[in-house]
Amino acid sequence: MSKRVLIVDDSPIVHHLLRKTLEAAGHEVCGDAKNGREGVDLYGKLKPDVVFMDVTMPLMDGIEAVKTIRASDPAAQIIMLTAMGDEQIMTEANQAGVTVFLKKPFDDYKIISALAKLV
């Protein structure tokens, strides 16, 4: 089933590659944010089905953004996609309310199969 997706990452490369993968699989990218603060704002406005969220970003990092989004919408579906995947960050991400945790580098299969697991 097609999903509306918000991408939150400070790298234009990640936006470009994710958009290509998601659109080819029939999903819609409804918004692009380049830091956690923008991501929180756009989440409130766009109400996407799923968020792809980086961890390391300027202004507000991904963990804080997940906590803020979850506080306003406990049903938010958030996929954390990050180069940092150590046990401490994974624990923080789980406690913040991340639905799925993915490590970079990523490929099409990793992205699409993660989306398919979401309700």
Partner: protein
């Protein structure tokens, strides 16, 4: 620098290049960095990290033609100059992924808790960057699309 701390970066370069752009590392060699100023090959991505009493820096330094090949492979487009935003962003993302992956291994094995800062990238002729006061190593990688060098600095580690 301890091989135990350097090896995750070498492994990460191998894995990330192969997975992100299908580039194969043919060989690598490690040398200490003696000079206080380093003349860049033309495109340099710099990323710092810290955790507890430790801090460090990863620099990827590439000739323009190698940076262009990586961007072309990553994005499936033909770029002709390193001054294009997406070329520089490609090298930045490559450095971020290599550093993040290596620091993940170090954090899981030592519990240090290194955290990355967003990387930045520079390009230009006769680009010079200063080496830090801490000991650094230079790692030259030869690949099937050309060579590049990584400068790795870890403060708080002998």
């Amino acid at each position: 620098m301890d091989q135990e701390l350097m090896q995750p970066y070498i492994d990460s370069v191998n894995e990330v290049l192969q997975m992100m752009v299908g580039v194969k590392v043919l060989s690598h060699s490690v040398t200490p960095v003696e000079k206080s100023e380093i003349m860049s090959y033309g495109v340099a991505s710099i990323m710092t990290f810290s955790g507890g009493i430790f801090s460090g820096r990863v620099v990827l330094d590439l000739p323009p033609e190698v940076a262009l090949k990586i961007a072309n492979l990553l994005l499936g487009e033909q770029f002709s100059t390193t001054r294009e935003r997406m070329v520089l962003a490609s090298i930045s993302e490559l450095n971020n992924t290599i550093g993040g992956s290596a620091n993940t291994v170090i954090n899981n094995s030592t519990g240090i808790g290194l955290r990355l800062a967003p990387p930045y990238v520079l390009t230009g002729d006769k680009l010079v960057f200063a080496s830090t006061k801490a000991k650094s190593v230079g790692i030259m990688f030869k690949t099937n699309i050309g060579f590049f060098r990584m400068y790795l600095t870890l403060k708080g580690v002998d």
